[in-house]
Amino acid sequence: MSKSNFTRRGLLKTSAMAGGALAAPTLFDGSVWADAHSGYLNAPTGSTVTLGFNVPQSGPYADEGADELRAYELAVEHLNGGGDGGMMSTFSSKVLQGNGILGKKVEFVTGDTQTKSDAARASAKSMIEKDGAVMITGGSSSGVAVAVQGLCQEAGVIFMAGLTHSNDTTGKDKKANGFRHFFNGYMSAAALAPVLNARYGSDRVAYHLTADYTWGWTQQESIQAATEAMGWKTANNVLTPLATTDFSSYVAPVLNSGADVLVLNHYGGNMVNSLTSAVQFGLREKQVNGKDFEIVVPLYSRLMAKGAGENVKGIFGSTNWHWSLTDEGSKAFVKSFGEKYGFPPSQAAHTCYVQTMLYADACERAGTFNPCGVVEALEGFTFDGLGNGPTEYRAEDHQCFKDVLVVKGKDNPTSEFDLLEIVEITPRAQVEYAVDHPMFAGGELGSCNPGA
């Protein structure tokens, strides 16, 4: 009879010691991983990570929302290694490999903002609490962006704003967890004013019709300041309720106001309707003070230009991006989007695609989804190859600084998409402003909130 030392307890002890010795480096790395991937809200634990796309799927901006969603789906496809990779190949940062984000497959949930602040907050909250979204992005209104940005700051997730153009988003309402790639009212005015001066002269009197909410106010304030700095005078600024559909009562007083320029600080359906009214009242054929009467639309979008039809011909405005740009990034994005959907992307689609890429890239560089790590990675980040030339996410207010496009309604469109022509690419230096500029004053960026 022989006695064996090979007992079950002995085997376990030996295995544990040997395993521990062999796995020591792994355990060390794993503890780092655990630190980076816990202690924040909705830390992904499985093989996937969930992003929340909060876009207007109903209401007046539903078409823009649909285009944003197309862009998000394309971005997710590219991040997960599908399609032709789009702008991943032109992006100056090369950490994205097409294997998801930090090795986790990207999944997404969608919400409907309805272009209403309360509905947008409710859908964002649902995506954060029920679906475990680690980042919220999207939207087509500054009112919504400010509301959802505030919610994300409180909840402790990152908010990558969609189409929002009010100075307030990265001005008095800026938040540490929020980032805006889109340009703003100040930048539009700074880019547009010199072009208007060159085309229409400095001896002009402007009449403003302004949408009565945060975006309209800041856009009007910006364009009035920029044009007055060139010598223009301002005859009047009339606030128009957002729900206005027939602008004839607001346009009629312009006729004999002494103004020779009408500035329409309107967007979406407001812009389409006010411009249509202005054209119907013969303002474009009118002569005042010995000069041709002119109309200006500071913020343009191709989708809105389509709604206004031939009324936009020859009218100046600004835009964040346009599909006809010929840089490698824009070309790659237009090809990718156009082949998938059959038409070119809008500026809303572009900014949403870019925001998704920038978020993914920041996570990779930070090595974590932790909002504080992402904030650190995005602050002061400079990049290129995403369609706007060299761009910087300014650390102090989380606003992207880049070139701005001045555009004009095309006189002879060659297709249903060919509605705007680029008049000038205004360099970043001309549209940059100090962090403490009075139009952006008030509010604190605060510190990042990881939510747990």
Binding site: N256, Q280, G282, A308, E339
Partner: protein, 343 residues
């Protein structure tokens, strides 16, 4: 003075739309006793009849032009409308140009049909239900119609221009002794006003001078007695629903060039039109027309800068303010009949 004349014209123009919608609402309420919250949707459907006809007339075939490229750099596809190919470029483009006036003929049978289907298919089941139920079901129907239109046409406004000959403005001021270009008013808005006046006159003429209209008026006054005389008043009321739908639809067709149609445009008018009906007097057709023009003019004047400087925001509340005052002074509205909505 020029501003006052311009706002008066604006008011008449706005009033035309309010009056036409309110007229249809009152016809339905006066005959069937139904508070139809889907009436704004009928106005919107009318506008989309114009959009649809424009799209039908613009249906095109594609030919590849190797000398041009599309946005992806592929050979461009050039679209040529079938009507231009059938009737020649000049006549073809004129037909497309006149799509809005042509849509009047297109919209009448469609809107009458929609009215019949709506009344027979849904609303007749709610005749004996409380007004609250009628409001809920018709409001729900309006949302369904809106969403269907959005599904097919998208959420963005669709430009539906007036014929070229109606573009530009009429120099109204020269007729009144003003300098040229001081009081000008868009041709199409003037067309809209006269069109609305014509439709209103036609509806009144139909009710006043035809046997059918006489029976309907009798039915509106005392449905039971007319029924006891052996007249099938329900059938006539169904026809009136169709006519009311057509009136709303025609108002929408002609409104399409004024503001590019979108799926939500009916809702924008609905609430105001109900205020118009209440101010005019529930069930009173002349009251609806009178109140439509009155409130349209008041709304226009209240949006004058001079008035808003004294009373900021007055343009937003003027209609409701006037409605409250009128209802306090005349609880049945301007021309309301005794007994309507009082049981």
């Amino acid at each position: 003075m020029d501003v006052i004349i311009l706002q008066l014209l604006n008011g008449l123009d706005k009033g035309s739309a309010y009056a036409l919608i309110a007229l249809g609402l009152t016809l339905i309420f006066g005959t069937l006793g139904v508070v139809n919250f889907a009436h704004g949707a009928l106005f919107m459907l009318g506008a989309f009849c114009a959009v649809t006809l424009q799209k039908i007339l613009s249906l095109s075939f594609e030919t590849v032009d190797p000398t041009k490229t599309d946005f992806l750099g592929n050979p461009a596809k050039i679209k040529t409308p079938y009507v231009e190919s059938w009737f020649g470029p000049e006549l073809g483009s004129s037909i497309i140009d006149w799509s809005v006036p042509l849509a009047i003929l297109f919209a009448i049978p469609i809107m009458i049909g929609v009215g019949f289907v709506m009344e027979r298919g849904l609303i007749k089941h709610f005749y004996k239900r409380p007004h609250a139920d009628q409001i809920l079901v018709t409001f729900g129907l309006a949302i369904v119609i809106q969403e269907v239109i959005k599904q097919f046409y998208g959420a963005n406004p669709i430009p539906t221009p007036a014929p070229d000959m109606f573009k530009g403005s009429f120099d109204f001021g020269t007729l009144l002794g003003f300098d040229p270009n001081v009081v000008i008013y868009p041709y199409w808005r003037l067309v809209y006003f006269f069109f609305a006046a014509l439709i209103i006159a036609a509806v009144f003429g139909f009710l006043q001078f035809t046997t059918f209209g006489m029976v309907v008026r009798a039915g509106m006054a005392d449905r039971e007695t007319v029924g006891l005389l052996g007249i099938n008043i329900d059938k006539r009321f169904t026809i009136m629903f169709g006519i009311a739908a057509a009136v709303a639809g025609l108002a929408g067709v002609m409104y399409a060039p004024i503001n590019s149609p979108n799926y939500h445009m009916g809702m924008d008018f609905l609430v105001l039109s109900f205020v118009v009906v209440v101010v005019g007097g529930m069930g009173s057709l002349p009251g609806a027309v009178l109140a439509g023009f009155l409130l349209g003019i008041l709304e226009s004047f209240s949006s004058m800068n001079e008035i808003k400087q004294i009373l900021p925001g007055i343009d937003q509340i003027i209609i409701y303010l006037v409605a409250i005052i009128i209802l306090l002074v005349r609880p049945r509205g301007l021309m309301g009949r005794k007994g309507v909505m009082e049981d």
